[in-house]
């Protein structure tokens, strides 16, 4: 016996979660399971949903105003080109529906400009409501607040950068102690917990709740600004209430500035997605990797791929040493890129470790890079090459397996960091792969 499902998604990042949700949506009676190993890059990512911030290969042209315009001109083999721009729109609408009012930006096709912790401005398609009052296109003056114990956000520096970048408002930064925190390397979750639970903290005026203590610290420093930006640590489970309380106490709007990893907005998005998975009855198995597979002919373990008609019969999940077979009709591979470990490299080769799907790359490893450190490196685009149905293709351009699709950063043909398209590609390909898998399974 094996654990049996209709659709099995491997990998629980943005792409895998979206694929599983889309599959459950497309075939409500299907049994959908998601198996994931370690935590996904969502915990590092800003929580912003970028579709396309810069045209591939032409960053000097500056941020794109309308990402959808640019989708039509993408080079062949780009994941967006594979699924088509209509699917990108559908996937984004699906995302909007899934996260409800936790995200903003769906009123327009244009990219929003969100200030980041370094004081740069990032073009993005969707942003958490917590960041909404911080947009750089808004002309209200802003006070940025940093904390002595949180070196990752230098508020005065970020404010200066924003002004230098030509933001249409004046920005000022202050650095203050965070009530209740003395450790200089306190975890972001510690800040969030203090505020979530409004723990009581010692202040000069005695013990008060952390929210009130923080508001008091800030109100003394306000100089007529009508909005205040904090690093993204304002609560986790109760982030909305924390922000609302602070805004009430200060009498001005409060927003969060997305931070580098580890990132609470990323964690909150992860919670939202996993909540949605639970609601739709998707079965989630986490903490354990898929390590192997078998094709339909039980004894023919096709480690070398095979012809396009091969079907994956089952995959093997390693439960802390015990090997547990999982069988499904359709599979989606969403194991991430070099960071998520869905694609691995050794000195001599780049490979996909579960199914050994073909990863196109130059024979000579010296051709994986270009001389300019900030140049257009081929390795940034390493990943699987899929057909329009998102089935990974082998070296002869035949599908590796009839019932395997791939989504997210495991795909090649795009450079998410340069073009700012990471979350968008994961959403679009996850949505298409999940939907097709469910439809074909029926």
């Amino acid at each position: 016996m094996a654990i049996e499902d209709d659709v099995l998604v491997i990998g629980g990042g943005l792409a895998g979660a979206t694929a599983a949700l889309a599959a459950a949506d497309a075939a409500p009676d299907a049994r959908v399971r998601l198996v994931t190993y370690k935590q996904s890059t969502l915990r590092h990512a800003s929580g912003l949903i970028d579709i396309l911030g810069y045209a591939p290969g032409a960053p000097e042209e500056g941020p794109l105003v309308d990402p959808f315009d640019a989708l039509e001109d993408l080079p062949q083999g780009h994941p967006y080109e594979r699924v088509g721009s209509e699917a990108v729109r559908e996937a984004l609408a699906f995302f909007d529906e899934t996260v409800g009012d936790a995200y903003a930006g769906d009123h327009t096709d244009a990219n929003a400009l969100v200030p980041t912790h370094g004081g740069t401005v990032k073009p993005t398609a969707r942003y958490p409501v917590a960041a909404a009052d911080g947009l750089a296109s808004d002309d209200r003056d802003a006070l940025l607040v940093g904390f002595e114990t949180l070196p990752d956000f230098e508020a005065p520096l970020a404010a200066a950068h924003l002004e230098a970048a030509g933001a249409p408002f004046s920005a000022r930064g202050v650095t203050v102690p965070f009530p209740g925190i003395v450790r200089d390397d306190a975890k972001v979750t510690r800040y969030a917990h203090l505020l979530d639970h409004d723990e009581s903290v010692a202040t000069g005026a005695g013990e008060t709740g952390a929210r009130e203590a923080l508001a008091t610290t800030i109100s003394e420093r306000l100089e007529g600004e009508s909005r205040v930006g904090f690093p993204a640590i304002l609560g986790d489970e109760r982030a909305d209430a924390v922000r609302a309380d602070l805004a009430d106490a200060l009498g001005v709007d409060v927003f969060e500035v997305p931070m580098g990893p580890p990132s609470l907005p990323g964690m909150r998005l992860e919670d939202l997605l996993y909540g949605a998975l639970e609601e739709r009855g998707v079965r989630v198995t986490s903490g354990v990797p898929v390590i192997d597979f078998e094709t339909a002919e039980a004894d023919a373990v096709a480690a070398d791929g095979g012809s396009g008609d091969d079907r994956i019969d089952r995959v093997v999940v390693d439960r802390n040493g015990t090997e547990v077979p999982h069988r499904a009709d359709q599979y989606v591979l969403a194991t991430g890129g070099l960071v998520g470990k869905g694609v691995r490299s050794e000195r001599e080769r780049v490979f996909e470790p579960i199914f050994d799907c073909h990863v196109p790359h130059a024979e000579d490893r010296y051709d994986w890079f270009v001389d300019d450190a900030f140049g257009d490196h081929p390795f940034a685009r390493f990943g699987l090459a899929p057909d329009r149905d998102l089935r990974p293709l082998d070296a002869r351009d035949d599908p590796e397996f009839a019932n395997l699709r791939a989504a997210g950063a495991v795909l090649g043909g795009y450079d998410f960091a340069a073009e700012k398209s990471g979350a968008g590609v994961s959403l679009a390909t996850g949505y298409v792969a999940g939907t097709r898998a469910a439809e074909e399974g029926e």
């Binding site: 016996m1 094996a2 654990i3 198996v35 190993y37 370690k38 935590q39 890059t41 915990r43 590092h44 209740g180 925190i181 003395v182 450790r183 390397d185 306190a186 975890k187 972001v188 979750t189 510690r190 969030a192 917990h193 639970h197 489970e237 990893p261 580890p262 964690m267 639970e278 079965r283 989630v284 198995t285 986490s286 903490g287 354990v288 990797p289 898929v290 390590i291 192997d292 480690a303 999940v317 390693d318 439960r319 802390n320 040493g321 015990t322 090997e323 547990v324 077979p325 960071v339 998520g340 470990k341 691995r344 050794e346 490979f351 470790p353 579960i354 050994d356």
Partner: protein, 447 residues
């Protein structure tokens, strides 16, 4: 590609070309070297954001420091292990967080062992207290021989006061009650296995708690497995070692592990697979043994150990069986223990409960219960433990259920302590569904 010979922590496809050496902690403690693992850390801090202790305790520096940074420091000069390692609760959440395969809990376990060995005064109250807590199993037989007296004495306020003042065991908690008859006594009295079956055989690792404190869980396992035609062996066994790892008592853990590996390997020879009903026990056999010890059959035992429910899901059509069952309506607030979560078993109970007509189980989310075995028993950790548990208590209160459900005995203590709910084990619900409670009553009367 076969990874079968790969030890667990790095058991990920594509990682096999990286050398992995099992670490034998004792007797050559000074030879352990986890530097290669430390070098994998790229300081992303994902582990820190998963640590329930760092979230509520400003003084705890978090897993990244405890693990890779400390190992790196230790290599550079003659650093002692930092005493904050004793504040780690051994929940092992950081382990499954790290995207870079840093063996965090292995680092913590070895660091704790070294700290206790080299920096802790063996006559100190803390050492003695920890040793007692870690070796609860050695006291248990005594208490079990006179359960009523033990329960009475443990419940006395003067005993608790003494416990706190003299030993540093919190007086806030109720000592777990000892059963009037241990599971092993019951098993012997009933004449051992009722089913013989050379083709379907399991060796049951019951652990301490279901033997001494909750034999009803162990009996539920017996009845469910026999119902499905399994022959059950109950080999001699020692404590799984979990409380010992958590207290840095690696020498004690090694002794216990040696017995367990020997006895369980012998059962494997007889064609049995190993199943455990406690998630920390299965975690220990599967992951911590191969990480810390290299007895002859450590790997074989690890590779053939299963969670009791998981085993049935894979080897039987458990879902099919459950689909036809119904019980008188009952609602549960289910908490997945950290050590189930780490084994990919967090969704299992909910999935199965959905199939039983009349049962509703509500997942109370992914927070840690906070007690982590002996951790929450220590006076100095009690407050932290309850702060961590707060989220779970709130979610249990919010769930439309007044009975709790979990697979970990100490989580169940914490759930009960924080909410006053009665707590059951998944196996008990399966017993009710598959075998029926009327029978169960009959069995109880028959002894």
């Amino acid at each position: 590609m076969s990874d079968a010979e790969q030890p667990t922590d790095d058991h990920v496809p594509g990682a096999e070309e990286e050398e992995f050496e099992p670490v034998q902690v004792f007797p050559e403690a000074e030879e352990m070297d986890l530097r290669p693992g430390a070098d994998n850390c790229y300081k992303c801090s994902t582990c820190d954001t998963n640590c329930p202790v760092a979230e509520v305790d400003d003084e705890f520096p978090g897993p990244k420091f405890q693990g890779p940074e400390q190992w790196r420091l230790k290599r550079q000069d003659d650093h002692d292990v930092d005493d904050s390692v004793m504040k780690c609760s051994n929940c092992m959440r950081c382990d499954s967080a790290c995207p870079s395969e840093v063996p965090l809990s292995q680092m913590h376990n070895t660091a704790r062992g070294e700290y206790v060995e080299e920096n802790m005064d063996k006559l100190s109250r803390e050492y003695i207290r920890n040793r007692i807590l870690a070796n609860y199993r050695r006291l248990a037989p005594l208490a079990a021989a006179f359960p009523r007296t033990a329960n009475f004495v443990m419940g006395l306020s003067v005993t608790k006061w003494m416990g706190e003042k003299v030993l540093g065991i919190t007086s806030e908690r109720e000592f777990p009650e000892f059963a009037t008859e241990t599971f092993r006594e019951w098993w012997t009295k009933r004449g051992g296995a009722k089913v013989e079956n050379p083709d379907k055989r399991i060796a049951y690792f019951h652990g301490c708690y279901s033997n001494y404190n909750t034999p009803e869980v162990a009996k539920a396992l017996v009845r469910v497995y026999e119902h499905l035609g399994y022959e059950i062996m109950v080999p001699d066994q020692s404590c799984s070692g979990t409380p010992m790892f958590a207290n840095g008592m690696l020498e004690d853990a090694r002794r216990a592990a040696e017995t367990n590996v020997r006895e369980l390997a012998a059962a494997l020879e007889e064609g049995a697979d190993i199943v455990a009903s406690c998630s920390s026990c299965s975690m220990s056999l599967r992951q911590e043994y191969p990480e810390l010890f290299d007895f002859e059959d450590t790997e074989t035992v690890a590779a053939n150990t299963w969670d009791a429910v998981e085993y049935l899901r894979v080897h039987e059509d458990l879902e099919g069986e459950l689909e036809e069952t119904s019980v008188d309506g009952e609602e549960f607030a289910y908490h997945a223990p950290c050590h189930s979560r780490n084994q990919g078993l967090d969704g299992q109970t909910i999935e199965l409960m959905e199939l039983i007509d009349g049962i509703e189980a509500h997942d109370v989310g992914d927070s840690c219960s906070g007690i982590s075995g002996t951790y929450g028993w220590k006076e100095e950790n009690y407050e932290t433990s309850m702060k961590i548990g707060e989220e779970m208590f709130e979610h249990m209160d919010d769930a439309p259920a007044e009975t709790g459900l979990t697979e970990c005995p100490t989580c169940s203590m914490q759930m009960e302590h924080g909410t006053g709910y009665e707590i059951k084990h998944t196996l008990e619900v399966l017993e009710a569904a598959l075998v029926g409670t009327d029978d169960a009553d009959g069995r109880r009367e028959a002894g």
